[in-house]
């Protein structure tokens, strides 16, 4: 079959199981857009309003499905607009393939119109990238790109395709079978020595704790982690991206860890004598001061990325491998245990936390973000997929929307990218159309990518947008309140009328200012098959507690005072 480079790209996408791509056209990618017409019935293109949106949509799609998300852009400014989304995906190990147009090969290096060295620009923020210089290499480059994006520690891969390559004609043959990449060989199993060493530490531990990360879901090791926890009676603390790895109502799950984690989780980590870190990378937002971090604990660290072992925290037993495979090796030899006193101790800490829970306070006349999120949880049966933006509302989501199933909280953790939430929610909906999707976004972050309202309208994407409007860049305001003597420099916002804005996009909307209006508004949003927007006007100066100040010891938390304290 003789095809053009553009058609080869489409054929490759189909063979990789892609049904939808998010993109924006332009000169250097025009041949590929032209080829799309022929494939329209099998390969849907979603026209975004800004390429950043396309990259976040591909990311949201990937996070919701575990499959590779695809975005596409033209050369120069189109490609550079993808950068934030690629960096976001890189930090959170999200598999996406980005296809960019490039100026024709003879023009490369001449500062041609809309020429940017895109492979150069994206080098540090992609797992790998390619500049295709021969149409005969296009098919296997595409295949490699998908393979690298989805295997091992997943991540974004960019394929830069010059315009003349898109136009060139060649015989199309898709390489079958497995690719052999001599320099790419993600680890899989542990050796028996490593397994025995890990078992020995687990056996000796009196106060063990599992640190459950995103890798559990990417490896599909939910059941194995659960078995490990249950058989050896080990409490489980979750990272932000680890939420959903185990149902949060499981008696052994003690909640999120880190800067805005549960106090009980953080205290348990500091008191533990063994950390079992599974598919997490000891980010500074979860460790606080490394010098005082879990000093009494030995550490078992299992991660598919060998370079994560001993990066931030020294592991007594570090195993580079696929988590599910490694746990399957370990579980048959794992002894039953009980850690009565330890679990009891953590329960006491939990009790203290619930006394400080803002929901248990009497707060007449104000609408709190915590209340809004908890009520959305209640009125969605706790079963929606939530996609958050970044800020206070994100942390409060993590605290007040318990997740029972894997991959039901999609959030930018590593990069903390404002503007991620809304487009990622659109992408997620395309991946899992039968799920209920809520984009929970701040008034600040929403305004960074709100142009995608037009995309949601054009495609009639059934996402519910909950804007948490505190008229502030809330999280920054919180830092200013705590560390800069309430000098609110550049954080108060005069916002547009979000409901009028929704009207302009022909999107049904509501404004909520009282708690007793929440249930109705949620029901309204759920009743409409298409995008809806609800603006929740909340308390301006709410705080997220507990808080471990950046760089402080993990146990050194700022807590909300108890009533009467």
């Amino acid at each position: 079959m003789r095809l053009t480079g553009s058609e080869i790209i489409m054929e490759c996408l189909l063979r990789e199981g892609v049904h939808v791509m998010f993109g924006y056209p332009g000169g250097a990618i025009l041949p590929t857009y032209d080829a799309m017409a022929k494939y329209e019935d099998r390969l849907h293109h979603v026209l975004v309003r800004h390429e950043q949106g396309a990259s976040h949509m591909a990311d949201g799609y990937a996070r919701a499905t575990g499959e590779v998300g695809v975005c596409i852009a033209t050369s120069g400014p189109g490609a550079t607009n993808l950068v934030t989304g690629l960096a976001t995906a890189m930090m959170d190990s999200s598999p996406i393939v980005a296809i960019t147009g490039q100026v024709p090969i003879p023009a490369i290096g001449s500062d041609a119109f809309q020429e940017t060295d895109v492979t150069g620009v994206t080098l540090p923020i992609t797992k790998h990238n390619y500049l295709v210089t021969d149409v005969d290499e296009l098919a296997y480059t595409m295949k490699e790109a998908f393979h690298i994006a989805r295997t091992g520690r997943p991540g974004p891969v960019l394929v830069d395709v010059p315009k003349d390559i898109q136009n060139a004609v060649t015989e199309f043959i898709y390489p079958e079978g497995h690719l052999i990449l001599p320099g790419y060989d993600p680890p899989a199993a542990a050796n028996s020595h490593e397994i025995d060493a890990a078992l020995r530490l687990i056996d000796q531990a009196e106060r063990p704790i599992i640190l459950a990360g995103h890798g559990i879901m990417m490896s599909g090791a939910m059941q194995e982690v659960r078995e490990l926890a249950e058989r050896a009676q080990i409490p489980v603390a979750l990272t932000l991206l680890g939420k959903g790895a185990l149902p949060e109502d499981h008696p052994l799950v003690i909640g999120m860890m880190g800067m805005h984690g549960e106090a009980s989780s953080n205290l348990a980590i500091q008191e533990a004598d063994l950390l079992i870190a599974l598919g997490m990378r000891f980010d500074d937002r979860v460790t606080g001061n490394l010098k005082t971090y879990a000093v009494n604990a030995r550490k078992i660290h299992i991660d598919i990325d060998r370079s994560e072992l001993n990066k931030n925290v020294r592991a007594d037993v570090g195993i580079a491998g696929d988590l599910k495979t490694v746990l399957k090796q370990l579980l048959p030899k794992l002894e039953r245990k009980s850690h009565h006193d330890w679990i009891h101790q953590i329960r006491d800490w939990l009790e203290d936390s619930s006394e400080r829970d803002i929901l248990n306070y009497d707060t007449p006349g104000v609408l709190l973000t915590a209340q809004v999120i908890n009520d959305i949880w209640r009125h969605t049966g706790g079963d929606a997929i939530t996609v958050t933006d970044v800020g206070q509302h994100q942390m409060l989501e993590a605290q007040y929307y318990p997740h029972q199933r894997p991959s039901t909280l999609l959030t930018s953790g590593g990069l903390g990218t404002m503007g991620f939430g809304f487009p990622a929610a659109i992408g997620a909906k395309f991946g899992v159309p039968d799920e209920e999707i809520w984009a929970i976004v701040g008034d600040g972050g929403f305004q960074m990518t709100l142009c995608e309202l037009a995309t949601a309208r054009q495609e009639n994407v059934n996402v519910n947008i909950a804007i948490i409007n505190n008229h502030f860049l809330g999280m920054v305001r919180q830092w200013q309140e705590l560390f800069f003597e309430k000098r609110y420099q550049a954080t108060p916002m005069v916002n547009p009328d979000f409901c009028k804005l929704a009207d302009a996009y022909d999107i049904p909307n509501r404004r909520v200012t009282q708690r007793d209006e929440i249930e109705d508004a949620v029901a309204f949003a759920r009743s409409i098959n298409g995008p809806t927007l609800i603006e929740f006007v909340v308390e301006k100066e709410e705080m997220v507690y507990p808080m471990v100040p950046a760089g402080a010891d993990l146990h050194d938390m700022k807590r909300r005072p108890k009533p009467g304290e």
Binding site: L123, E171, Y174, P175, G177, I180
Partner: protein
């Protein structure tokens, strides 16, 4: 002359695909992770598609392993090995332009070169160029001896290193070859010739 043992220096050897941009990827990695590199050399191997890098690190083996683990993640890096305690051969080459405009300088130079594996490779009316090959420390020692005569210009290649006996994993085909082979194979299965 006894060679001094090198203190606290570790070598990382990497086989990389000889493709455009690979050096850029490695340089970018070092910069991004703020890895401190003492010297880095790249050169051809007996396989035209594979280059070999020797990276000298002024730190302990744990640090070198960190670098190795990160290098290994690059798709174009075929294999990485930390040469720490294992027996190995290493060589550094220096070209040194020294003053040689009087009898004293010329005599001293000849005398020093006789005691080292060094050669005078070019002699002019005022200067001479010397080539010195040896381990890093040996080359340094030589330079120290020559220095009083008056060094005008100098370049060192940085060390190259090779483990003795045990061979570094050697891939004779590259990703590109394999991909082409796979393409060919599926073409043949489909009864087509590319």
């Amino acid at each position: 002359m006894a060679q001094q043992p090198t203190v606290n220096k570790v070598t990382v050897v990497a086989l990389v695909e000889n493709e455009p941009g690979v050096l850029n990827r490695i340089a970018s990695l070092f910069r991004r992770r703020a890895f401190n590199i003492d010297s880095l050399t790249v050169g051809r191997t007996h396989k035209p598609d594979i280059s070999r890098m020797t990276i000298r690190v002024d730190a302990g083996p744990e640090y070198a392993r960190k670098i190795a683990n990160n290098l290994q993640k690059l798709v174009n890096v075929i294999d990485v090995r930390v040469i720490d305690n294992e027996p190995h051969i290493e060589r550094d080459l220096a070209l040194i332009k020294v003053r040689s405009d009087d009898a004293y300088s010329r005599n001293t130079l000849t005398e020093i070169c006789d005691r080292y594996p060094a050669r005078i490779v070019d002699v002019g009316p005022h200067v001479a160029i010397i080539e010195m090959v040896g381990t890093e420390t040996f080359v340094e020692k030589f330079i120290d001896e020559v220095r009083p005569i008056g060094i005008i210009e100098m370049i060192r290649t940085g060390i190259v290193s090779m483990g003795r006996g045990t061979r570094i994993h050697d891939t004779s085909v590259t990703r590109r070859d394999l991909a082409r082979a796979a393409l060919q194979a599926s073409a043949m299965r489909n009864g087509r010739i590319v």
